[in-house]
Amino acid sequence: MFGRTARLQRQQRERQADEQAMLACLPRLRRYARALTGARESADDLVQDTLERAWQKLDSWKRGSDMRPWLFAIMHNLHADQRRQPALVTVELEQAAEATAPQSAAEQGLALDLEAALQLLPAEQREVLLLVVLEEMRYEEVAATLGIPTGTVMSRLSRARERLRQWMEGPGGRSEAGSTLKVVK
């Protein structure tokens, strides 16, 4: 009986610890998902899916290690799965980006323009930018979380930043050689 009691007690402790670790990551998961999807509802849907998947495959988490990269990796995979389904939309958004790039941002309007510009980035670039900037992950951590080489992290980060800069600075902004982007008035 005592062995069973001790095991129950240990399992209960572990479960409490897992829950608390997950709860502690929840605000960050929500922030990232919000920036990634751009919409509150679908962001929270993504977070909920992530939590459910996390419980399903809890065995793949090494107890005692940082739970955050593990959860972000799960979210990345779910989001990638979602993107894969409506493949056509991705293309259309890419083209729409060029037609509707935000106008040069006044200080006050910067945030709104930023939000729009962010959603116009290809998702792969947006993910890298957000993990680096919002989550303040090291480049190697980003690479591990997304399952890509660090060099790819750097090139996506670079492209994301330059695109945002062009869009947010408008036609007066500097333009990288080779860019065909036009801002339509």
Binding site: Q20, R30, R31, A35, A39, A111, L114, E115, L134, R138
Partner: protein, 284 residues
């Protein structure tokens, strides 16, 4: 001063604070002093402005109250897969009873329920422990009121559900604000009535519900949460009583019951949705 070209990777790492200190100060000096790096400097500034703007725009999400469905996904998910895993070792236990047994056992072993409250709160809100003591008091008072009145077979409520309108009017008048009794019948719990109680600094309403088997839940509603910031869903345990509680403006709500956490969380989500003020149209 003639300085070497700056690799783009280093420029990013500099913008993100990921360079070793020595390299960072070297870069800072070159960027400032060498006009050849003017364009690098301009890009760096733009990137840093982007970083600030991203934080300014999305950091407020960190402070939002957690939607109940997400808190529920953390808590509810906990029982299922673990239990499945446990089943490999022993005969599957009856769900909720097993959970309560484990919880009670642990309480006995760890002693004070206060420790549990503190434990739950500290991990849930990293740096806000000081503020969290307020809401925790709400949960504790609600749990005590639940224990005292739900056990009362003959007179659990002051005013019965047969006079629901009178009950609601009376409690609203005493609390000085409109209160409502959420409908939990679709979830199997019927309102049996309510009562007025003394809270931390004024009157508090308690609504009581009961299911077909006689299991009782109470919803504790206070309107004196002036010092507490809004919270998301939180969970506390006082003895055998599980409590979900949250602060919404000046309202503090706590749903207490001696039922499994996952089930209570589902009911609490419904209460939350029914009582939440109509949200302003999203600015989009």
């Amino acid at each position: 001063m003639k300085t070497p070209a700056l690799p783009e990777e280093d420029l990013h790492a500099y913008a993100d604070g990921q360079l070793p200190a020595a390299r960072a100060s070297e870069m800072a000096a070159w960027l400032e002093q060498d006009p050849a790096h003017a364009e690098d400097l301009q890009r760096l500034r733009a990137w840093r402005a982007q970083n600030r703007a991203l934080h300014a725009h999305y950091d407020p999400v960190l402070e939002e109250p957690l939607p109940p469905r997400l808190a529920a996904a953390v808590l509810a998910g906990a029982s299922e897969p673990h239990r499945r895993r446990d089943e490999g070792h022993e005969a599957p236990a009856n769900g909720p009873r097993w959970w309560r047994y484990a919880a009670m056992l642990l309480l006995t072993l760890t002693g004070a329920a206060g420790g549990w409250l503190a434990h739950d709160l500290s991990a849930g809100s990293r740096a806000r422990n000081a503020l969290a003591t307020g809401p925790a008091v709400l949960a504790r008072q609600a749990a005590v009121a639940h224990t005292v009145f739900s056990a009362d077979l003959r007179r659990p409520v002051e005013v019965g559900a047969d006079q629901e309108q009178a009950l609601v009017t009376w409690l609203s008048r005493r609390l000085g604000v409109n209160v409502r009794a959420p409908k939990l019948a679709p979830l199997g719990y019927d309102l049996i009535g309510g009562r007025l109680l003394p809270g931390q600094s004024g009157p508090v309403a308690q609504f009581m519900y009961q299911d077909a088997a006689g299991q009782r839940l109470t919803l504790y509603v206070s309107h004196d949460q002036v010092q507490n910031r809004e919270t998301g869903f939180r969970f506390a345990q006082e003895g055998k009583v599980n409590v979900f509680y949250w602060i919404d403006g000046q309202f503090g709500y706590a749903l207490s019951g001696g039922i499994a956490r996952a089930e209570l969380s589902r009911i609490a989500s419904s209460v939350y949705e029914q009582l939440a003020p109509v949200a302003p149209a999203p600015a989009r």
